[in-house]
Symmetry: C2
């Protein structure tokens, strides 16, 4: 098997992705980012084969998800994408086919999110495929986790729990013998919906401007709604009450929960939602909802911020839900 050298690889696959002037066609060790309006927001997420994705996930999806998890962080901070750097650690057995498909996935998202490649580093690793993306965005105002205040409402975009359930669907596909019973009880369409939600997050970039304008605090839900909200509240020095029944679920997730009600815990504490969790003054709900409507994204009020610390989640009967210890940790 002949494989391209590092220089050939960059010229053939990566340089075509570097469409911005400041990237100079990747002919340099560094790049200049263009000036822009607003604050420059930076974020960095790593993704490791066998930890954050399955080594046999489709290469285009691996690439797209690695970028999108970063764009999701940006959106939750009120920032529109401006570009990214790609650190790529290729395992010993990498193939050119893999790389071609990986870059095709990146190219599609670079176009879709107007987020060009500015540079990076490509190395070989005596270990699993390693992706390290740094993304840049511009925000009218950088929205922090810190900032929730008593009396704010707690809201989320989209639906919660699909990513965690989709991970189970994807795992069952790879190991049918070990599949949980509820997966077999779903329709093929529900399974596909959940699988796609796991493989391909939908960064809420369209809402970034409204988030910057109206949120008091925000973050993306990547490690589970319950744990992530608890973090936001803690750093803001407040607490919250959340109604479990108001947490938005997809039809597919509802079907899964009907088959196995214990999945509620996975839905509320699992990772990979990549929705925006935010708090805002009550009168800011309407403009945020209008922006979400315009973008075709659900926007749901799920609770209220309280002065007392702690997160309390209540079910329809008013009982406190015990989600058990821990949260989803890739670490």
């Amino acid at each position: 098997m002949t494989r391209p050298t590092e220089d050939e690889l960059i010229a053939r696959y990566l340089a075509p992705l570097a469409v911005a002037a400041g990237a100079d066609g990747l002919s340099d060790d560094a790049a200049a980012l263009p000036e822009g309006a607003g604050e420059l927001v930076v974020t960095k997420d790593m993704a490791i084969a066998g930890v954050h994705f399955f080594p046999d996930d489709p290469p285009a999806m691996i690439a797209a998800k690695a970028l999108r998890t970063n764009l999701s962080d940006l959106a939750a901070k009120g920032a529109a994408p401006a570009g990214f750097l790609l650190g790529l650690g290729l395992p010993q057995d990498w193939t050119e086919d893999f790389l071609a498909a990986f870059c095709e996935g990146l190219a599609a998202d670079i176009a879709a999110y107007a987020c060009p490649l500015y540079g990076g580093d490509t190395v070989k690793v005596p270990g699993p495929l390693t992706i390290s993306i740094t993304a840049f965005g511009r925000a009218r105002r950088w929205v922090r986790r810190r900032g929730a205040q008593a009396g704010d409402v707690v809201c989320v975009t989209g639906t919660i729990g699909d990513g965690a359930l989709g991970l189970a669907v994807r795992a069952a596909e790879r190991d049918p013998a070990g599949a949980a019973r509820w997966i077999g009880g779903l329709t093929a369409i529900d399974r596909e919906h959940l699988r796609a939600r796991y493989l391909l997050p939908q960064p809420r970039t369209a809402l970034a401007e409204a988030v910057a304008a109206h949120a008091s605090a925000a973050m993306d839900v990547s490690d589970g709604l319950a744990g992530d909200l608890a973090k936001l509240l803690k750093v803001s020095g407040v607490g919250a009450h959340v109604e479990a029944d108001s947490v938005p679920l997809s039809d597919a997730a509802r079907s899964a929960l009907a088959l196995d009600p214990a999945l509620l815990r996975a839905a509320f504490t699992g990772g990979d939602d990549y929705e925006i969790l935010l708090t805002c003054r009550p009168d800011a709900f309407a403009p945020l909802e209008a922006a979400a409507d315009a973008a075709g994204v659900f926007f749901t009020r799920i609770g209220e911020v309280a002065a007392d610390p702690g997160l309390v989640i209540r079910d329809g009967q008013g009982n406190t839900l015990d989600l058990g210890p821990g949260r989803f940790e890739h670490f």
Copy 2:
């Protein structure tokens, strides 16, 4: 062995490094970079145990070198450090002692180079220790590789070849039986000099401003002088003549070459120099040299840019040096 959780690890070791306001004590998924004068230059270098450093290198040196290789890129682009993001992939057998020493090394360089931590990502990897740093800098003018013109002089900072020879010294220390004879012929002081040059690059940050003011093209020498200069010339569409005898060598490197003249190839094509290679108009040499003098750094004219493509390196007898194929590739 009890080890800290991800949250504890961040709070105990990484948050104290995030001294900039925009990092918000690492309580967030993202950070806001402060506005600054000049162009924002970004660069990213990955470092993998067993590829870019020895797993048993001192942890503080591993950390410092991972940061400094990025600062070296910035300096060569004319940029002063402004901050960085750290992607840290910890292997299965990481220890708290390792992490404490690693962060001590980072803390020292954050202070020395006024380059605070702004954020990043910490994950576990089923593979070797993986470091992915993105560094930000500000340059009055982003100096590219592209830009060398016929008639320019070719110059380098510091001394060339110490890194490659230092790598051999460090490898001999780990495997005395396999050590080349010349290593045993060096004095202990020469060995220590070369070893330190390999473990601890000296980014020429003090020269960044002068580079931005005077260089026509520049890059840092990380993959060997000959190969890196060839790249710079190629992207600039020119060639150059270099006098081998004028390439600056340390006393330690001279001693090594006296013991084994064949080491010249390693010195000219080996990696890990982390010096600035630049071209400038002949009348810009003096102000650059003055800036280097003020910073206590050698600054040497080694050749001249020619209109014809290709790099020709001549020895003292006027014969063209054949450095053989290839250049040092971490890839």
